[in-house]
């Protein structure tokens, strides 16, 4: 197994074509899914005429700011957990020094990089949050009742890129190169699955909030 992972041709595949495929599937799939839902909504007649831009913005903002909505306040441990998880999940890969170096070497572009120590802690936070989510799914009765194998799968999809990244950085368990290859592979899997699994809540969040925010504005009420 380890020989297969360390095989140069596998490395070439994972660092070359598969990266392109992953990003194309991620971008194309996202555009496709958003367009699909938009067209369906357009065909339904009762949806798009009721969308209210101001209400949409208010609704989205109240749910993107920690403790700005009632449910974020009464569920404060989950709120802290989910905000830490999502912020670290999005920010760390975008501003990681190692990723920026790769970008610089390939296309000569760079942007702001996080200090390595900070990025290390943020990665650890993602890993710990994933485990906390897993515990919640296994032991909180209202979550356990609605948990399916796919729920554990999408948790694993977001867990492994960070775990392997963290282990590669600290050079644990496997040789650095093998771990980095695994890290790239898991990252690519995650990118490719986002549009086609419920990880798509990444972009559907804005669309569903827009609908409910507009509805509640119509009823002269708040949805936060």
């Amino acid at each position: 197994m380890i020989d297969f992972i360390k095989d140069p041709s596998f490395y070439t595949l994972v660092r070359g074509p598969l990266v392109w495929i992953a990003f194309l599937i991620f971008a194309g799939g996202s555009v496709y899914k958003i367009r699909e839902l938009y067209l369906l909504a357009k065909g339904e007649k009762a949806v798009l005429p009721f969308i209210d831009g101001k209400a949409t913005l208010r609704s989205i903002l109240h749910w993107l700011i920690p403790f700005a909505s009632r449910n974020w306040r009464i569920r404060w441990p989950v709120t802290i957990l989910t905000f830490v998880f999502h912020i670290c999940l999005v920010v760390t890969p975008l501003f990681l020094l190692a990723h920026n170096v790769l970008l610089n070497e390939s296309w000569g572009i760079t942007w702001f990089s996080l200090p390595e120590g900070v990025a290390d802690i943020m990665t650890l936070l993602v890993i710990v949050s994933c485990i906390a989510f897993l515990m919640r799914r296994m032991f909180a009765p209202e979550v356990k009742f609605v948990s399916f194998p796919t729920d554990y799968l999408i948790l694993a999809i977001s867990f492994f890129p960070f775990l392997t990244g963290y282990m590669a950085y600290h050079q644990w368990l496997l040789p650095y190169k093998a771990m980095v290859i695994l890290h790239m592979l898991f990252g690519e899997i995650m990118l490719m699955t986002i549009p086609f699994t419920r990880l798509g809540h990444m972009f559907y969040f804005f669309m569903t909030r827009s609908w409910m925010g507009s509805q509640f504005a119509l009823w002269h009420s708040k949805d936060w």
Binding site: I154, H201, M212, G213, Q215, D223
Partner: protein, 280 residues
């Protein structure tokens, strides 16, 4: 009480309830066939509208909607009362099995969506994605309604609306008679009190709930006194529709539901009313 005296769901062992006999559910399922059920489910869910798709493909099963639900809170946080659990036990299962469910399952769905949910929309206020869970529950209600599996009391109200356009089987004669009788009765104490029927160009049209002219007569009297004291130029509609309670909406009986709303607005347009005042 021992567990054997309770109803335990076949599909979901966590779903344990007290028996609650209801002719509307127990008898009506005897006429269902698997083909009829499958056809109905497929017809109602149809080509997966945007709103169904958005809920199914976004819901991350986090359970954060549960604390919104009064049923969940007042049943010791029993997970089977959570809004997401109600979707899981009804529509998710229907979709998973591609509509191939039996009559007993439909009865269980009807019990969940009609007697354990008030379609109040609070779960949408608590969902981080603002998913329209109530819309989904409404779809399951529609499936049950089309199949005729509805608690008897609710079905009776629906039939009353479909027949008389009010929920209390009150004929138009009775409606007008009641209003004139009330005007006479209170007129003995207040000489200027009027209950104007079909007054064109009035500012306000009062639309009571069905029960008011039938069993809550004193409401009519009090409303008339209030309108008089406030000096409001008001009226009530003579012809149907005057009952502003729209029970068919709760069953998602779209045909009757639209007849009522249309009738109310047609009355308002005919009399050139500025405001409609409803009892709630």
């Amino acid at each position: 009480m021992a567990v054997k005296d309770k109803i335990v769901s076949r599909e979901f062992p966590e779903y344990i309830r007290e028996p609650n006999p209801d002719v509307g559910l127990d008898e009506s399922i005897k006429e269902l066939t698997p083909e009829k059920i499958e056809k109905t489910i497929k017809a109602v869910l149809g080509g997966r509208s945007a709103r169904i798709k958005a809920v199914l493909e976004t819901c991350i099963h986090c359970g954060l909607c549960s604390k919104a639900c009064q049923w969940y809170l007042s049943n010791d946080e029993d997970p089977t009362y959570a809004p997401v659990a109600k979707m899981r036990m009804t529509i998710w299962e229907m979709i998973k099995r591609d509509g191939k469910v039996d009559a007993e399952f439909i009865k269980q769905c009807a019990r969940i969506v009609f007697t354990e949910c008030n379609i109040c929309h609070r779960c949408s206020m608590y969902c981080p994605y603002g998913l329209d869970i109530t819309f989904i529950i409404g779809l399951v209600r529609r499936i049950c309604f089309v199949l005729g599996v509805v608690p008897q009391r609710m079905m009776d109200q629906d039939h009353a609306h479909a027949t008389t356009l009010n929920q209390v089987w009150l004929s138009q004669n009775d409606w007008l008679d009641t209003m004139q009788w009330q005007e006479e009765e209170v007129g003995a104490d207040f000489k200027d009190l009027r209950i104007p029927i079909d007054k064109e160009g009035a500012e306000v049209m009062w639309l009571p709930l069905g029960a008011e002219p039938k069993t809550g007569i004193y409401h009519v009297e009090r409303t008339a006194k209030l309108m008089m004291a406030a000096g409001v130029d008001w009226t009530i509609p003579g012809p149907d529709v005057w009952d502003s309670s729209n029970m068919p909406m709760f069953l998602r009986d779209f045909v009757t539901m639209q007849r009522i709303v249309r009738g109310l607005y047609e009355n308002a347009a005919r009399l050139r009313i500025k405001k409609m005042v409803l009892t709630e």
